[in-house]
């Protein structure tokens, strides 16, 4: 499965070529977005797109630019499931755990992938190879079980063979 570049819209990407933290880069990102109405989420998405996460060091910079308290920004970053505090593994695997995928064998798939990767869902492998997360619906509910791997959607992923292919793709 190929990696797919993303990021046209400031949405959070899962590609793995993140930059190391740089306050200077962060300031530039923040400045480019600070003039928008309700700029906080667009800024946080852009930061995560660049650094793979929203590190704590970014919070005072965002707060200052938007004239908000640091506590407020911290509250926002921690409220939303998308924002990470540390960079993810080289691969990011999101597996749908919602009802329509459950009805199509999602539980068995999740169990197989957990076994194959050797880590429970919502964790990152110790070698930093993969971050494995639950997601609640990808809008592919008539063709589940569905996953998103490094930003790419894959549907009709069955337990057994399908799970093995997913595990393989995350092991590269």
């Amino acid at each position: 499965m190929a990696l797919k570049p993303r990021g046209e819209s400031g949405k959070t990407p899962d590609v793995t070529d993140h930059q190391p933290w740089s306050a200077e880069t962060a300031r530039a990102i923040i400045a480019a977005n600070a003039g928008r109405e309700g700029a906080t989420l667009p800024i946080l998405h852009a930061l995560q797109e660049t650094f793979g996460c929203v590190p704590e060091a970014a919070e005072p910079l965002v707060a200052e630019a938007l004239n908000l308290s640091r506590a407020e920004i911290h509250g926002v970053v921690t409220f939303y499931h998308d924002f990470r505090r540390t960079p993810p593994g080289r691969h990011v695997l999101k597996l749908c755990r919602a009802e329509a995928c459950q009805a199509r064998g999602g539980d068995a798939l999740a169990a197989d992938v957990e076994r194959g990767l050797g880590i429970p869902i919502n964790s990152t492998s110790a070698d930093g190879r993969v971050t494995f997360e639950a997601v609640y619906c990808l809008g592919l509910c008539a063709s589940g079980p569905a996953i998103m791997i490094d930003g790419k959607l894959v549907a009709r992923v069955d337990a057994g063979e399908g799970a093995a292919r997913v595990v393989e793709a995350c092991s590269r």
């Binding site: 939303y80 509910c141 589940g144």
Partner: protein
């Protein structure tokens, strides 16, 4: 002559290989020296057929279903590009019973046109709504909408025209139109399909809303789980702006309206309208107490129309064809059509737009064709994670707002999730509580704490510990959540839990009874 081939760019097709099929076909045609143009459409909406490739022929568009990259070479050799017979050939897709039975008003173009071609959009009836709207007063537009009977498709079913009336009547220097594209319900994908397959319909609907209520700015708030929809909407907004459908003097009028796409950050509760507004403003998605209504004090405290994608995308049809043409469909107080989404363990999963009134049984057994696994249908969850589970005994329930409410259920955003007889309803009840605990915004104690207690208590039930006493606690918790929650996340989680308990009591009493451990 160039042969036109249509391949969906819809996420549901891409996720099963449509991009690779398009690439393989382009390569194969080049090698064979055949001149083709590949047009990426939305999906027609019958997902077991994807990737569904269609070739334009004198007999119409001929479909070839479940075409994978490895099939392309043989299909081209067999004469697919001339519409030749093949085991994957399904004829004209619109002749399939699944499509023939539908009434497509909101989804008339989806799967047929090039989503990013305004010429295509116009040629298939687009822009007629706004052209009529600019010749009317705001009041006349709103009354047309009221007369159509259109009710919000996001879940609550509030009459759209009435909501717009309030915004129009509230004077303010700035008003907003916000489209709720958070579509978090499992089993739903109609908003996604519409944005990917016919984005101009949503833009046109939002512009009409702007004209009607006097709003000049709009936002589409799309969940981050929908990268394809985000990309499609961004492209469509840019094209619309370039063509004068957005900006100053829209559609040749004196009105101004422009809009922007915003992306959520993985919070189900942000689909709740006031939480969404908080999020758009840059804060945590904590639900606001109402009043004030968003229509009076919404985004940045300004009067705001907030509507679901499907509500807004239906507006152009109503303006173009008249309120009557829409209201003629439906039953009782549920007028028009509903884009129903058949999902989960169902054979014919996909988008089925039809007039209100079809029964749940017809939907699941006839249209859906029963389960994909071939086993008996045991339970159907209607209306997303906050919707009730229905047993077969209630399959005579007509699909409309009131009939579902009368049976302690809801139609919500129109998602229908089918489960076969391997489902364990105690686990589904537990999941409903777990989901509420994960997604609670934290404002109300019954929702935040009650859901966690619900998970623990149901775990004891599943383990067979003191079952009857613990089930009584679950019922009690449900009661507290139902009446002590500010929004429907905490307030409606009891629906799936209690319906599972009521209709499938045996599933909660499967474990060998044990003495209370505590």
């Amino acid at each position: 002559m160039t042969i036109r081939v249509f391949i969906p760019g819809d996420a549901g097709a891409v996720a099963v290989g449509a991009d690779e099929v398009a690439a393989a076909l382009a390569e194969e045609a080049r090698a064979a020296g055949i001149d083709i143009a590949i047009i990426r459409t939305g999906s027609r909406g019958l997902f077991p057929l994807e990737p569904l490739l269609e070739v334009e022929t004198p007999e119409g568009r001929i479909g070839y279903a479940t075409v994978y990259p490895r099939d392309v070479k043989a299909l081209v050799a067999a004469g697919m590009l001339a519409g030749a017979p093949h085991e994957k050939r399904i004829g004209r897709p619109e002749e399939l019973p699944f499509f023939k039975r539908q009434t497509r008003l909101t989804f008339a173009r989806c799967g047929i046109t090039d989503p990013l071609s305004l010429d295509d959009y116009r040629a298939h009836g687009g822009m007629k709504g706004i052209e009529r709207a600019v010749s009317l007063t705001g009041t006349a537009i709103i009354e047309e909408l009221v007369a159509s009977g259109l009710r919000g498709r996001g879940g609550a079913g509030f009459p759209t025209g009435i909501k717009w009336r309030t915004v129009a009547a509230t004077a303010a220097p700035q008003k907003y139109v916000v489209c709720n594209a958070d579509e978090g319900d499992s089993g739903t994908f109609a908003d996604r399909m519409l944005m990917e397959g016919d984005p101009f319909a949503l833009i046109e609907g939002m512009a009409i809303a702007g004209i009607a209520v006097g709003a000049t700015r709009g936002y589409v708030y799309i969940r981050s789980e929908y990268p394809h929809a985000v990309a499609a909407m961004e492209k469509a907004v840019a094209i619309a702006r370039g063509a004068g459908l957005l900006g100053h003097g829209i559609a040749g009028s004196a009105h101004a309206f422009d809009m922007e796409v915003r992306v959520g950050a993985g919070a189900y509760v942000c689909g709740e309208e006031t939480s969404l507004l908080e999020s758009l403003e840059g804060r945590r998605g904590i639900v606001r107490a109402k009043p004030p209504l968003p229509a009076i004090s919404g985004l940045f405290g300004k009067p705001t129309v907030i509507n679901n994608v499907l509500s807004l995308a239906t507006v152009p049809f109503i303006l173009a064809e008249g309120a009557r043409a829409y209201a003629d469909f439906g039953m009782g107080r549920s007028r028009g059509t509903m884009p129903i989404q058949l999902a989960g363990n169902v054979k014919n999963g996909g988008l089925f737009e039809t007039a209100f009134g079809i029964t749940l049984g017809e939907l699941v057994d006839d249209v859906g064709g029963g389960t994909e696994s071939g086993r008996p249908v045991r339970a159907v969850q209607v209306g997303g994670p906050l919707g009730a589970y229905f047993p077969r005994a209630l399959f005579d329930t007509p699909f409309d707002y009131e009939s579902f409410a009368a049976r302690d259920g809801l139609i919500g955003h129109g998602g229908v999730v089918v489960f076969d007889d391997t489902v364990d309803m105690a686990r589904q009840a537990r999941f409903a509580m777990e989901f509420c605990a994960i997604e609670s915004c934290g404002k109300c104690t019954p929702c935040r704490i009650g859901s966690t207690r619900g998970v623990e208590t149901l775990d004891r039930v599943i383990a067979g510990r003191d079952v009857e006493r613990n089930l009584a606690i679950v019922e009690d918790l449900c009661h507290t959540m139902k009446f002590g929650s500010l929004c429907a996340l905490g307030g409606f989680t009891p629906y799936p839990v209690m319906s599972a308990l009521t209709h499938f009591p045996d599933d909660f009493r499967r474990a060998p009874a044990r003495e209370a451990a505590e």
